[in-house]
């Protein structure tokens, strides 16, 4: 016997409303593939292009706590803003992020990253300078590579000094797609 879908949905909604979840997650459809989106009560914890749940569950329960559940309501706000972004109707995200597991350096870099506007790009060195560590371009590159909340924290807007796209943890074709959506690339 399997649990009827409506009953399953009801429980997941009640669990979300109860405020007892450490984190809730769901898949969000997008033009660049399904996104795994997870959030705690503090904000977004994870956006991933890898929709394989198992490994994310492990990470989420280690970072946020073991009460992790697929809970579509928990990420309703993020889903709406991502939909609007991909439809070209949203240029800035109004979502809080939960960066509890990152180092102070990473947090500084991500804070500056979040300020790069829609449709603009910057370089790794420039971002390092803005974060107060002008010599840390390489470390900034690593930070972009390990960005847990891509798209919302727009690491796709950071490119090489010579204008090359350099790389993207989600695959270079996705970086191209995002920069095309934002009108940076044709």
């Amino acid at each position: 016997m399997t649990v009827p879908t409506d009953l399953d949905i009801r429980f997941r909604e009640a669990a979300t409303r109860s405020g007892m979840l450490d984190a809730g997650y769901d898949l969000v459809d997008s033009p660049i593939g399904p996104l795994l989106v997870a959030a705690s009560g503090r904000g977004l914890l994870r956006i991933s292009f890898d929709a394989d749940i198992e490994q994310h569950l492990e990470w989420l329960s280690r970072v946020a706590g073991r009460s992790v559940l697929r809970a579509p309501r928990q990420i309703d706000g993020a889903r709406r803003e991502l939909d609007e972004y991909f439809e070209g109707r949203r240029h800035a995200f109004d979502l809080s992020v939960d960066l509890r597991e990152v180092t102070p350096f990473t947090e500084r870099v991500l804070h500056e990253l979040a300020r790069i506007p829609f449709g603009e790009t910057t370089t790794y060195a420039e971002l390092a300078a803005r974060a107060g560590s002008p010599k840390a371009a390489r470390a900034v590159g690593m930070t972009m590579n390990r960005n847990r909340i891509p798209i919302v924290l727009p690491c796709h807007r950071v490119i090489g000094a010579n204008g090359s796209l350099v790389g993207y943890a989600g695959g270079l074709d996705r970086k191209v797609a995002l920069l095309t959506l934002e009108g940076v690339l044709l």
Partner: protein
């Protein structure tokens, strides 16, 4: 010492046990009332989940919570004459180890004794499972044990 069994993320725990819990509840309180009891069971489990100390006996733990929710449902709803008898042979007690021994105890005491001595839960956890207070859980367990001692005397 036995190695500690890791506690899985709640999603895994829920997916693994939800159909068995629903089956148990349908047998115990009937189809109509099983849905609410199902939700209540897993909300109680979620409330206690952070405080679990190891991942052993999770199945028994959640079936015990479900059994107790079923008892609460019966208590809340005054039975009417039309209500069919719950077939006794169909109800599978979750407390397999201490089940027979504690069979004669009042429901709350039996649950407290089994959870405390069968599964080594703390009174805080038991309180959560039974939706009561740690003090009440301690009291229920100790009066259950007293009752068992009395019954064990020849």
């Amino acid at each position: 010492m036995m190695s500690t069994v890791a506690i899985p993320p709640f999603e895994i725990f829920y997916a693994e046990h939800n159909s068995e819990v629903l089956g148990l509840l349908r047998r115990k309180v009937g189809r109509d009332r099983a849905d609410d009891a199902f939700q209540e069971t897993f909300l109680r489990a979620l409330r206690a989940y952070d405080r679990l100390e190891h991942g052993e006996h999770l199945r028994t733990w959640v079936l015990t919570i479900a059994s107790h929710v079923a008892i609460d449902v019966h208590r809340r709803t005054k039975p009417t004459s039309e209500m069919p008898e719950i077939p006794h042979e169909d109800t599978r007690p979750a407390y397999e180890d201490l089940g027979e021994l504690t069979d004669g105890l009042p429901a709350k005491e039996r649950a407290a004794v089994v959870l405390r001595y069968g599964y080594d839960l703390t009174y805080d956890q038991i309180a959560t499972a039974l939706d009561s207070s740690p003090d009440a859980a301690r009291q229920a367990a100790s009066s259950g044990v007293r009752r068992l001692r009395k019954e064990a005397r020849p």
